[in-house]
């Protein structure tokens, strides 16, 4: 006598029951399909957007920015220039001692006007030490044209954001003129054009060599910012350590500087999970319903199965298998449909130049989400199928056969 409930006969009976009510079974499977599809499309899309923004913003900006508290100061000619960090040695000491610091880089930052043959636009000039800055930002990946940080170790070369370059109507090799707030100006050669995909960055950011900028600003060895990259980005305790140990500095972490994006990511996450959960819940009720109705309609048949030798466990299995087959078909097709829709979205061109620069919608096709969606579909059906199945197994053949 077979004691395992997982056998051909029980599966055969389950399939027979399923095929006897094809329409309802299909509807229940469509319920699961819709749940899983929605989950996959939403999570592919939402995490695609999240990852895109994370990548663009967080990799384009440091985890922690240290600057002086007094934002602007006047030089002896009465011109406003960015304030210089006085106590950078003190700060460096703290950063070197801190274990969570991955790397840090000095910067001298100033606004300036860039003038090309045809146009002029304001820009933010980042004077960087290219060897150090390389560890902070992977600009190679962002390059559209020309060369990266190594090219600005030469004097009088500049890297431009792509939107800025377009507005100035220049490309690699062209000359532009830079006028600084103190009136000093110089000619620079464009050696590279980069794109972070975020308009607010690509519109204004430029990189030149820090020593060049220091010379032009008459600030030998002066720096305005220190950028820090952390090992664990979520641990921003360094921020309070710095504020405690060094006077007169302002410290901003990535969460402060990207509040809208951090919140946006959270909102998208919540949306994805709640909508998918709600849909799967509805699908679950569908399965619960169809099986409960089947169990009620089939009480006599279940009683007969029990009298001819099918145990309670067999009955549970027979009904649970029905739920699982519905779930399996729904979840599998859901994954396929989810992938198809996600793919369609991923090749849909996106016409935007306001906030982010991206040609098509960012979609995250991670296998993990498909496995997750599939498992959710199956789990829902098992949960939904369990109670009706249990109910079926409790059918007492005596009361039912006598109750005619």
């Amino acid at each position: 006598m077979s004691t395992h409930v997982f056998n051909k006969t029980n599966i055969f009976i389950a399939l027979q029951y399923l095929s006897a009510r094809k329409k309802q079974s299909c509807l229940a499977a469509i319920g699961v399909l819709l749940g899983v599809t929605t989950f996959i499309v939403m999570i592919n899309f939402m995490t695609g957007v999240n990852d895109f923004l994370d990548d663009a913003v967080f990799n384009g900006s440091p985890d922690i920015i240290i600057s002086t508290k007094t934002k602007k100061q006047r030089d002896n000619k009465g011109l406003i220039i960015s304030s210089v960090l006085e106590n950078s040695n003190e700060i460096d000491k703290v950063l070197i001692e801190n274990e969570n610091v991955h790397s840090f880089a000095h910067q001298i930052l100033t606004p300036a006007i860039l003038i090309s043959d045809r146009k002029q636009f304001p820009a933010s000039i980042n004077g960087v030490f290219s060897e150090k800055e390389k560890e902070m930002i992977n600009l190679e990946r962002r390059l559209v044209e020309g060369k990266g940080f190594q090219s600005i170790s030469q004097e009088n070369t500049i890297l431009l954001g792509i939107s800025l370059a377009k507005r100035l109507q220049v490309s690699v090799g062209d000359q532009i003129k830079m006028i600084l707030p103190n009136g000093n100006n110089t000619n620079l050669k464009v050696s590279g054009i980069f794109s972070f995909g975020i308009t607010t960055i690509d519109n204004v950011r430029t990189y030149i060599s820090a020593t060049t900028l220091q010379g032009l600003l008459n600030q030998k060895n002066g720096i305005t910012n220190i950028h820090v990259k952390l090992k664990d980005r979520d641990d921003v305790s360094l921020k309070s350590t710095l504020v405690e140990e060094v006077n007169g500095i302002g410290v901003e972490d990535w969460k402060d500087s990207n509040k809208t994006i951090v919140i946006g990511n959270k909102v998208r996450d919540i949306l994805t999970w709640s909508v998918s959960f709600a849909l799967l819940l509805v699908a679950g009720f569908g399965i619960y319903n169809i099986l409960t109705i089947t169990v009620i309609q089939k009480r006599k048949d279940i009683a007969v199965l029990k009298t001819i030798g099918y145990s309670s466990n067999d009955i549970v299995f027979i009904f649970l298998v029905q739920a699982m087959i519905i779930g399996l078909i729904g979840a599998l097709l859901g994954c396929v449909l989810g992938y198809s829709i996600s793919y369609m979205i991923s090749i849909t061109s996106l016409d935007t130049s306001d906030f982010i620069i991206v040609e098509t919608y960012p979609i995250n096709f991670k296998m993990f989400y498909y496995i997750l969606g599939f498992s959710f579909g199956i789990l829902t059906t098992i949960f939904a199928g369990y109670f009706p199945s249990k109910k079926a197994s409790r059918v007492d053949p005596v009361t039912i056969i006598r109750g005619i």
Binding site: M1, S2, T9, D301, I308, G309, S311, S312, V398, I401
Partner: protein, 222 residues
Amino acid sequence: MILEARHIDKYFLEPEKRQVLKNISLVIPDGELVAIHGESGSGKSTLLYILSTLDTDFQGDLKIKDQNIKTLGASALTDFRNKHIGFVYQFHYLLPEFNVLQNVMLPAMKLSKKAKEEIIEDALGLLDEMGMREYAKRPAYQLSGGQQQRVAIARALINNPSLIIADEPTGNLDQKNSHLIFNLLKEITENKGKTVVIATHNSTMYRNSHKTIEMIDGSIRP
């Protein structure tokens, strides 16, 4: 003795406690057609369910094929029924999702002692004996009541049980079909050496049985 019952008492607790079987003792020998009859409420159905092991909530001892039923757990009891007892009901109870042949095969598929081909062969043989072979591929719900009952008998016989329990097997049939079914059941005892226990109202049936047990008020009439 295929079946031996000693001092069986049975109480219904709902709506109030009441004794429905009083000190029933009986033996049923191999190869006989035994009819239990009596008025409604006399306890004959209750006794039949106890004898068929479907109802184990009673006092007293029940032995079938020298096996004390009370010592078996729920799943062992299910297996025991599968092997040794066949059932026929008043309302045939074929499963409508399955065709005639599949219905007959179900108990044997559960027993899974034989290969599927063998089970099919056995089932077709039994359907042949019941005169139903030509209907083997028909969906069960397309058959008439009498035809369904003949299929149900084939189903009860598929695992070659020693005991067939039939609850009002002709209760829902016209006279001609009743006669046919009764004769089939009787043949089973005479040709195959099975024991058939039926509960019935039908006087021609119990008069033609090998042995009758009349129930009055929860006791066997002496």
